[in-house]
């Protein structure tokens, strides 16, 4: 630590070069932070709260409905502690482009999602109101909705009996928050009563698109899923029960292999960065050959000269990388908001910081290794005489 000012001085010996290199490093880590946040956002949902939840939908197709009566039979399966139901609604607000992720759910649905926090009085108000809807804080903010508002939503799928067309009216009775940053995606939801949906729906009745099942012991989730599927085996509404993680993972994998794309881009970026900073460090040490020789002459050991050069390159990477990630954490919430929930990013997660810092240290060491080794092997007499 006591050599920090010396390393710092060496780093900024050539201001232009160091600043230019820093900008390249910042750009690389900016990209890393952004891409990794997006990757994590799309693989989110494996929170602890999600453990032990099963999604049961029709084996034929996700859009195919299941009978509402099936819920009671699933509830009798040993190991199941609660069953809630949910339906697609396909809501849009004012303009077909403003999609609102909206589900018609049974009243106990939010009991199964402890990551959703709704004040008790708003919950009671929701249960009292037939046309009541509860909305996530992010969604409410986007359209300026407040508790007590009456809002019209168009369903892209279901006509309403009351209005004779696709417009459904809801009373907002509550605004819920996500328990942690990680679940912030849930703040884009609008939930309303399945009863209202079923009574007012011009097509079909008494059907549910999927059940959410809470199991007592997540370790036995697979066995419970098999038992649930056995209930409806060989009927005209066979089900497919799977853990929530598996359900979401299959979706993301079908969308696009985001992990692979991110890894390939970052591979190209970091390979270039390695060359670039490696080149800078080589130049820096070559220029300072005589200075290093002087250091050795006045008594610095070969090892400490080596460590100082290594520390210089690690410092360079850390400086650029941390600035890059800091910029990401400033702009990411903006991106999340601008994409209207399409890209569910809300901040730089702890794991991105950890991976990022590990990368900075690793690249710093790799890049500094050869120059540091050269500095260590420097022969004082040769170096001073300029040979």
């Amino acid at each position: 630590m006591k050599y920090l000012h010396l390393i710092w001085a060496a780093l900024f010996r050539r201001k232009t070069r160091t600043l230019l290199t820093l900008v390249s490093i910042i750009a690389a880590f900016l990209l890393f932070g952004l891409l990794n946040s997006v990757r994590l956002a799309f693989s989110a949902g494996d929170s602890v709260d999600g453990a032990g939840r099963l999604i049961v939908n029709s084996r034929m197709s996700m859009q195919n409905p299941l009978p509402e009566s099936l819920g009671a039979r699933i509830a009798t399966v040993p190991g199941v502690t609660a069953v809630a139901s949910s339906n697609w609604f396909g809501g849009v607000y004012q303009d077909p482009r403003n999609q609102v992720v909206s589900f018609a759910v049974s009243q106990n649905y939010i009991d199964l999602y402890p990551e959703i926090v709704l004040p008790a009085d708003q919950r009671a108000a929701w249960e009292r109101t037939r046309t009541g809807a509860i909305v996530g804080a992010a969604l409410a903010k986007k359209y300026g909705w407040k508790v007590g508002d009456k809002i019209p939503l168009q369903s892209t799928i279901f006509p309403s009996k009351a209005s004779g067309n696709n417009t459904w009216t809801f009373d907002i009775t509550g605004i819920f928050h996500a328990k942690s940053e990680q679940d912030a995606g849930r703040e884009q939801l609008l939930l309303f009563h399945w009863k209202y949906f079923d009574e007012n729906n011009a097509f079909g009745a008494g059907t549910v698109h999927w059940y959410v099942v809470k199991v007592a012991d997540p370790a036995h989730a697979d066995a419970v899923a098999t038992t649930i599927d056995a209930i409806s085996a060989n009927s005209d509404h066979e089900t497919k029960a799977q853990t929530e993680q598996a359900f979401q993972a299959s979706f993301i994998k079908q969308l696009v292999n985001i992990g692979l794309i991110v890894v390939s881009i970052m591979g190209a970026v970091f390979f270039t960065l390695l060359l670039l900073t490696g080149n800078t460090m080589m130049q820096a040490v070559r220029e300072r050959t005589s200075e290093l020789a002087v250091l050795k002459t006045i008594g610095f050991s070969s090892r400490s000269v080596q460590v100082m050069v290594l520390a210089e390159s690690v410092l360079l990477l850390l400086l650029g990388g941390l600035i890059g990630l800091a910029v990401v954490s400033l702009i990411v919430p903006g991106i999340g908001a601008a994409s209207g929930g399409m890209i569910p990013v809300h901040g730089v997660s702890a794991s991105t910081w950890v991976i990022g810092i590990a990368l900075m240290l690793a690249i710093g060491v790799i890049v500094g290794w050869i120059p540091a080794w050269r500095a260590m092997r420097l022969n004082i007499v040769d170096a001073l005489s300029g040979r």
Binding site: T16, A27, R59, N64, I157, Q254, A268, L276
Partner: protein
């Protein structure tokens, strides 16, 4: 103050040059290159520039490390940019090419896609009576009511389920899509549980070879043929509408109706007739419009992502190039000062440093574009469109590779300009005294 104004002017010049460069068509670039070559060969300062450049280029080998940073850095930018844009282009080509301007699709009012639409039997009959519908000699309308469901199938090479689009069609469906050809086996027979699969779906999902039995819904189906169409239909499974409706309990409803019109001009009358019918709540557009709309959102997202990543990488590469060229200029400071002392003017010096950087950038651009073309051209992948999978190929078109090269040259231009100006403005006396 004077220095500040000079630098400000330089930055403005760069911005102006970039704006022109982005809009410049290839013929303009060729003309520019020709003019430049003429200047090099014919004018006095041009010949000076050429000779200084030859000296600079011949020393590149001694600076292999820093030169390769420029080449590889720019190759990386171009490769990533072109690959992402090729993905977008491939997806657009697949989704948008299925449409025709003399065929109309009818959906329920307000529905943006087939999966969000329901048409009842009365609606279908009303569409049949609308003016402008083409009819055969017997007076039978050329239309097909269609039903789409997302069917769960195992993906090839993994044990995981993915959603394939199963389309139930009427007998006329084949005539409505003249580009669609059976490449193996035969068409399905109405009333039987037989499937014809798109070539993309056959590649993507397991157990879809001709002759295979596959379980969809509660029933077992036989695959009897494979078709090719080169658009989004390639990712679908087709069967008789009545069979699909009974297997998936859809009754008499359909999701969309595809209609062949008597001509392109007939669409307006057809649409007006449907709109003015008070009993009907439907929307119609030509299939050309419909497919273009389907792909617009997804393609735009990919484009925005590609350009964002490209711009950030380009900024990194510009600074890398600046760094390397500043170092190159610094190491040749004495040589450049000598040239100027014996009478070379500033312009040849600036041009030679710029030219050197742009040559390196060009090499990087060609390398990057070539790698992407070799690895990704025709690379097949799939994504979700709505609820179901669509299979598409990356399309590394010459236009994309050309725009990649333009990016490379732009990066080289910015990366070379500032070091070049520094070299030309260095006071001769101080430069000679250095080192």
């Amino acid at each position: 103050m004077k220095k500040f104004l000079f630098n400000l002017g330089l930055v403005l010049l760069v911005i102006l040059a970039l704006l022109v460069w982005i809009r410049l068509p290839w013929i303009g670039v060729v003309a520019l290159a020709l003019l430049f070559a003429l200047w090099l060969a014919l004018s006095r300062s041009g010949r000076q520039a050429a000779s200084v450049t030859v000296v600079g280029v011949s020393t590149i080998r001694q600076r292999a490390g820093s030169s390769s940073v420029i080449v590889i850095g720019i190759a990386g930018v171009v490769a990533v940019l072109v690959a992402l844009l090729a993905m977008g282009e491939g997806l657009t080509a697949t989704l948008a090419s299925g449409g025709r301007s003399d065929t109309a699709i009818v959906l329920r009012g307000g529905a943006a896609a087939e999966s969000a639409s329901v048409l009842l039997r009365d609606d279908v009959l009303a569409v049949e009576q609308a003016p402008g519908v083409a009819r055969d000699a017997a007076g039978k309308p050329a239309m097909s009511a269609e039903l789409v469901v997302a069917a769960s199938l195992k993906q090839k090479g993994s044990n995981e389920d993915a959603n394939a689009q199963l389309r139930g069609v009427d007998a006329e469906a084949w005539a409505l899509r003249p580009d669609l050809k059976i490449v193996q086996g035969r068409k399905f027979k109405p009333g039987l549980r037989e499937l014809v699969v798109g070539q993309g779906a056959a590649r993507q999902f397991a157990g879809l070879a001709v002759g295979d039995e596959v379980k969809l819904g509660t029933e077992s189906w036989t695959v009897v043929g494979v078709f090719a169409s080169g658009d989004a239909y390639d990712s679908e499974l087709w069967a008789d509408r009545q069979s699909v409706a009974s297997a998936y309990r859809r009754g008499n409803s359909a999701e969309s109706v595809l209609v062949k019109l008597t001509g392109t001009a007939a669409f307006d009358g057809f649409k007006a007739a449907l709109m003015s019918d008070p009993k009907l709540k439907v929307e119609t557009s030509t299939t050309a419009d419909y497919f273009a709309r389907q792909s617009a959102g997804l393609a735009r997202t990919i484009r925005v992502v590609g350009l964002t990543v490209g711009v950030i990488m380009a900024i990194g590469a510009i600074f890398g190039a600046l760094n390397c060229m500043f170092a190159a200029v610094a190491s040749r400071a004495r040589e450049i000062a000598t040239l100027r002392a014996i009478g070379f003017r500033g312009v040849p010096v600036v041009v030679s440093v710029m030219l050197e950087t742009m040559l390196l950038a060009l090499a990087g651009g060609v390398l990057g574009a070539l790698i992407v073309w070799l690895v990704f051209n025709g690379y097949t992948t799939s994504t979700l469109n709505g609820l179901t999978q669509v299979v598409f190929d990356f399309k590394v078109s010459p236009a994309l590779m050309w725009s990649g090269l333009k990016w490379a040259l732009a990066i080289g231009f910015i990366g070379g300009l500032f070091p070049a100006v520094r070299a030309a403005r260095l006071p001769v006396t101080t430069a000679l005294r250095e080192l």
